[in-house]
């Protein structure tokens, strides 16, 4: 039935739309105008065309320019891992007393970045923040790829990687089990759950959109692939009913999940007794930091993307502004936490605790501490100004500062706390090696390779959801076909 193909561009445009103003519909009466989530009064069909078009069109040159180095970097990452595995953890920088180095920093950093995706898709969903629809798909994808990058590190940082399966409760002839009092065990459960649930959530959101892709597909391979993954979705309202319920539940589950994951990651530190780690403030502080860094990364990705993919009407300036505001709020929480840590250290009266914090600010690693303060506390304060929030270039630059700052936050926590602890005779210093650096850079390759592939093959914006928030999708809205006075 090859002739069953529908030419969307010509045949299916609503009759009411004049051909000349190709993709526009009549503006609603002034009293009904709200700040639109999709600007320029785009039609429902246009949304499909615009979004699916990204994955259907010819591969743009910039994509290749980004993709090739990403693959190279990803290969570097795997090469470094092979080198690490064949030689030993010693190829990295850690030593006595800083036994954790970049691996754990990168782990916490990447997983923190992941948090924005879940936050956008789950928490904002529960809060009925409808503006989330245009960014949640990309943010969720970012989450999944970030968690993949994060998950690599705890796995490869252990001394005997091939025995990593001992961290899972698998029956064995040694009759011995994992030790569940260890925060690392909690981590295993938290991170694997986080990854799995994020993937489920993402995939579930994708089902209707993959059906869109399927129905638009022109080649057999595409038809098959999209057909397979859309699971035979028809858009049945009976299905939508269950689907929406399930989506709500997943959002409800993801919300405590996203809060718990970084709380548990923070417990890797706060459960210990090291000055600088042993702090009750860590769980909320880590979650806030994670959201902060996650939004930073979403901005870093979407600000250029909306331009490159010509999606300015869907990912609007308003979206960017809102995200800047979230960044500002969480950045302030983080700054408060930094101040509180110092206050508590002083207030505790414990000289070891006090020293740990003074050492952060004036010790051999003071540069790291001040980079963190500069990037995390000072830069987000610029988002108070609308001029800054609406200047895309500035937002992009500041979002990169946020990412850098949050990396340094983990550096401060992991390295600076460890390098000078209780007995001065133990004090030492940590220096990364070239392998540390290349492995970290390599994960960017991994991340961007996946992200770029995602751009090419998957609708990067939740088509059905965006359609759902347009006024013409609302049966009670004049644009949705409702008669004057509404209908109930």
């Amino acid at each position: 039935m090859a002739d069953a193909l529908v030419d969307f561009k010509t045949e299916t445009r609503p009759a009411s739309v004049p051909v000349g103003s190709a993709l526009q519909i009549k503006a609603p009466p002034a009293e009904l105008q709200r700040e639109p989530l999709v600007t320029n009064q785009r039609s429902i069909g246009w949304i499909s065309d615009a979004i699916a078009g990204v994955a259907e069109g010819k591969t743009p040159t910039w994509w290749w320019i980004a993709f090739v180095p990403s693959v190279v970097l990803m290969t570097t990452c795997f090469t470094m891992i092979a080198y690490l595995m064949s030689v030993g953890v010693g190829v990295w920088g850690p030593g006595h007393p800083v036994m954790w180095g970049w691996a754990i920093i990168n782990f916490v950093w990447w997983i923190g970045i992941g948090h924005a995706g879940t936050l956008i898709s789950a928490i904002l969903f529960l809060l009925r923040q409808r503006w989330r629809t245009s960014i949640n798909r990309a943010a969720e994808a970012m989450t999944i790829f970030a968690v993949m990058c994060a998950g690599i590190f705890p796995l490869i940082h252990i001394g005997r990687i091939w025995l990593g399966w001992w961290l899972f409760p698998i029956p064995n002839s040694n009759g011995i089990w994992p030790q569940f009092r260890s925060p690392l065990m909690w981590d295993v459960f938290a991170v694997s759950t986080y990854f799995t649930v994020s993937l489920l959530f993402w995939f579930m959101g994708l089902i209707p959109d993959l059906a869109v892709m399927r129905d638009r597909a022109k080649t057999k391979i595409r038809k098959f692939a999209y057909g397979l993954f859309s699971l035979g979705w028809t858009g049945s309202n009976r299905h939508w009913s269950n689907y929406e319920k399930a989506y709500l539940i997943l959002a409800g589950l993801s919300t405590p999940l996203v809060l718990s994951v970084h709380s548990i990651v923070s417990m890797d530190f706060s459960v210990s007794q090291l000055p600088g780690w042993h702090t009750t403030i860590f769980p909320p502080y880590f979650v806030a930091g994670a959201v902060f860094s996650g939004f930073g990364m979403v901005l870093t990705l979407l600000v250029p993307l909306r331009k490159l993919l010509k999606l300015e009407d869907i990912i609007t300036v308003r979206h960017v502004e809102l995200m800047c505001k979230v960044t500002l709020a969480t950045g302030s929480i983080v700054g408060y936490a930094y101040a509180m840590e110092f206050f508590i250290a002083w207030y505790s009266g414990n000289p070891y605790e006090r020293y740990a914090f003074i050492n952060r600010a004036v010790g051999p690693y003071a540069w790291g501490y001040w980079i963190m303060i500069g990037c995390n506390v000072i830069t987000p304060q610029l988002f108070w100004f609308k001029k800054v929030r609406t200047n895309m270039l500035l937002v992009f630059i500041l979002s990169i500062f946020v990412n850098i700052g949050m990396w340094f936050e983990r550096f401060v926590i992991v390295v600076i706390s460890l390098h000078r602890d209780f007995l001065p005779a133990n004090w030492g210093y940590f220096r990364p090696t070239w392998v540390d650096i290349l492995t970290y850079l390599g994960t960017f390759g991994l991340f961007f390779t996946f992200f770029l592939l995602f751009l090419r093959f998957v609708p990067i914006i939740a088509i059905a959801e965006v359609k759902g928030v347009t006024p013409q999708a609302d049966p009670h809205h004049p644009l949705g076909g409702a008669k004057e006075g509404g209908h109930h």
């Binding site: 029956p171 002839s173 040694n174 009759g175 011995i176 038809k223 057909g227 035979g232």
Partner: protein, 222 residues
Amino acid sequence: MSDIFPKWTNRLPLMIITGVLLVGTGVTAGVWYYFTNKYTNVGYMPVQPVAFSHAIHADQLGMDCRYCHNAVEKSWYSNIPASSLCMNCHNQVLKDDPKLAVVRESFQSGQPIPWVQIHKLPDYVYFNHSVHVNRGVSCVECHGQINKMDEVAQAKPLSMSFCLDCHRDPAAHLRPPDKITDLDWKWSENPKEAAIKQRVEGTKFVHDWKVESLQNCSTCHR
């Protein structure tokens, strides 16, 4: 559209679920059995350079284990006897038997007999024979009825959980010290009675000898 997927594909999910369940169960069961010491080690019966029969020596002739394995009460290691020890008897008995040619040759040349090791623990396990045999653990607990074997084979898995079984409940395995090398010995011919007696006497031994039920890591790993 649906021409890509013929009608039978609608049964695919069910088929996949069933398949995964079946294969999964099979793989789990297979790993469970074949990848553990119970399969890989138990029954290991290599061909030895000399067809030495424990059944003849220990069972029929009634020789005590410690005649040959004489370090077992003193050392962590239960020694394989030197050829010279074989020759104590075999310079009289069966002195020209061709089956013993290797032993005689070894005795004369001074070159040891390359016995193939059967019971083997990893290097990080510090099993000590002397403390077990001196404290009421019989050879049979780990080596099985070696006195009935014409060719020695591994009888028990010797895995960590195998060790733990006994270490967690020593009362179920201890026996009077003079019965250590009597591999046929039982508390009673009646299995039910034997079990009751083992429990009663074993508990008494544990108490009197201050036997600790040790499952600390340091008990075996150093």
